[in-house]
């Protein structure tokens, strides 16, 4: 098939993909009476939503919470997953077994952990704290990171590791001085993917962090739905403010992210 024909086929798909995102921007510029105007564009541009949103909710606080939770969770996830992936990729049978176990745990829907973790967090005083949410989100993403990183470790030629043993390095030494530098792009990619997952997570955030001071952005966004007169314009503003930095991050790291995802796929 010709390149031009394929482009013509793919173009409508791209448009379809973009519509909901463009629509959110359009919503952010509509007054309340204009939200349901039957079109994709505002009948009249209404800038007031932007300052009003910052007056209505503590947006900087929610954003900061989301960033803290996502970044803290990534640190925890990687601290667990990087050594684990070296083990699953290199410890033969026992590594394979661990990998299956990790992937099996990923199959369990997160709602399974909600009640037990609720009690655990309360007993340890971590309910309604960002630290508690970091812990839960970080643990939840471990299987994803192990799955991706395992692929990266497997691509490192074993001879390099053997040379390091001759220099007297043990497992941790090899991991730190040989494997970690070589799979650095994979660590970055997995870290970013886990960051996005943590940033957008709703179920745990809604279940374990009910107080306003620790609510993450997705929770704050979902709470707009509870009002009798939903302020869709402001909700759109909050969405955009929250998602814009993440889009920038994704576009900047685009090649690494795509490579990171591929590492999982080609296994």
């Amino acid at each position: 098939m010709s390149r031009r024909l394929l482009t013509a086929l793919l173009a409508p798909v791209a448009v379809l993909m973009a519509v909901p995102l463009v629509y959110i921007v359009s919503l952010s510029l509509r007054s309340r009476d204009d939200v349901l105007n039957g079109g994709l564009l505002p009948s009249e541009v209404f800038w007031r939503n932007w300052p009003d949103t910052f007056g209505a909710i503590d947006l900087p606080r929610h954003l900061a919470n989301s960033w803290v939770v996502a970044a803290g969770a990534v640190a925890l996830t990687l601290a667990i997953a990087v050594p684990a992936a070296h083990y699953t990729a290199r410890a033969r049978r026992s590594g394979e077994r661990l990998l299956s176990l990790v992937l099996a745990s990923y199959c369990a829907p997160p709602v399974v952990a909600v009640l037990p973790l609720f009690y655990l967090l309360r007993t340890t005083g971590l309910n309604n704290t960002l630290a508690g949410l970091v812990l839960v989100t970080g643990l939840a993403n471990v299987p994803v990171a192990v799955w991706l990183l395992d692929g990266f470790v497997r691509r490192v030629p074993q001879e390099i590791e053997e040379a390091a043993w001759l220099d007297g390095l043990g497992g941790w030494g090899v991991l730190r001085h040989v494997i970690a530098p070589l799979i650095a792009p994979g660590i970055v990619a997995s870290g970013l993917i886990c960051f996005f997952l943590g940033y957008n997570e709703l179920l745990f955030a809604l279940s374990f962090a009910q107080e306003t001071s620790v609510q993450t952005l997705p929770v704050a966004l979902s709470l707009f739905q509870g009002d009798r007169n939903i302020q869709f314009g402001r909700q759109a503003v909050a969405s955009i403010v929250g998602v814009a930095p993440v889009y920038v991050l994704a576009l900047l790291a685009q090649r690494r992210l795509v490579a990171g995802l591929s590492a999982g796929a080609v296994k």
Partner: protein, 309 residues
């Protein structure tokens, strides 16, 4: 032991020593953090859930008194919950299958167009990093019966208005479409990467044998991709069972119970109606079902991988 060491031929010991030296040296302790993580995040919840399911609990005071199978009976007698099991399965299977078919098609088209994704790679990432809550709001308003952009557009071209969120089947399918909108790009990226791995010799050999485009796809490319496709299907299937955000935002489980998936129903039973014991029993039933479905797909994939070797 000592006797064995003496009688063992020297050559064998040396060979064994050499083999051991070549064995990858990873420390057992490298698996310790992940083991601890699994215990906290999977092991402990499972044990605790069994405890909660067999006793009476409130959110404030868990594990009060033994009630035997009462909670399970409550869960299984509740038609909203048993219905949610079926709905969740249907949702996961339909969404995963739809995403796999559309995503594979798009990936094939993209791969035929160019060997690099370029700017498109970045655009494909955007739905993946968009909070599902935001995606849900956009779709809900687009589909609003009065004043939504979809009906506005339909009216412009003289077509009758639609209200998919107003009826049971429509609402269910709308959620499938939203999930598909969000996750098809993920499938595209993974399948595209797998496509680049198809060995050139394999294609060339098939072309030399006179295979056309279609034949090449059906007899060479797709069979080669099968393990990767099944892995992606499994990932999305599991993702489908986890769906919560868009249900919460778009339909809140309604109309009626048409979009009440198990994850949503359990979260509500536990943290909105505070029926802790029932929710725990429901969770266990749901996990067993998800485990069964995922195992079937995993077994099919393992067979596909074996068949290839």
């Amino acid at each position: 032991m000592a006797e064995g060491a003496i009688t063992r031929p020297a050559g064998l010991t040396r060979r064994r020593a050499v083999r051991r030296a070549r064995l990858p040296r990873v420390s057992r302790w490298q698996a310790a953090p992940v083991t601890a993580a699994l215990l906290v995040f999977s092991g402990y919840p499972l044990v605790y859930l069994v405890g909660l399911a067999l006793t009476e609990s409130t959110l404030a005071r868990p594990l009060q008194s033994w009630v035997g199978s009462d909670n399970f009976r409550n869960a299984l007698d509740n038609e909203i919950f048993t219905g949610s099991l079926w709905r969740s399965t249907l949702f996961a299977v339909l969404a995963a299958a739809g995403q796999l078919v559309i995503g594979t098609g798009l990936a094939l088209a993209l791969a035929a167009r160019a060997r690099r994704l370029g700017l498109l790679g970045g655009l494909l990432l955007l739905p993946l990093v968009t909070p599902p809550v935001m995606v849900g709001v956009a779709w809900k308003l687009l589909l609003a019966p009065v004043g939504g952009a979809v009906n506005g557009t339909l009216a412009l071209v003289g077509l009758p208005a639609v209200n998919p969120l107003g009826d049971e089947r429509g609402a269910f399918w709308t959620l499938v479409v939203i999930d598909t909108w969000q996750w098809t790009p993920f499938v595209v990226l993974l399948v595209y990467a797998a496509l680049l791995g198809v060995p050139e010799e394999l294609r060339e050999a098939a072309v030399l044998d006179g295979a056309g485009h279609w034949r090449l796809l059906v007899s060479v490319v797709l069979p080669y991709l099968r393990p990767a496709l099944l892995a992606v299907f499994l990932l999305r299937l599991v993702g489908g069972f986890k769906v919560f955000d868009i249900v919460y935002v778009v339909t809140a489980g309604g109309p009626g119970a048409a979009t009440n998936t198990s994850t949503y129903e359990i979260q509500r039973t536990a943290l909105e109606s505070f029926q802790v014991g029932t929710a725990a029993a429901e969770t266990l039933v749901f996990s067993v079902m998800v485990g069964a479905v995922a195992t079937i797909v995993a077994l099919v994939r393992r067979r596909a991988v074996r068949a290839e070797r």
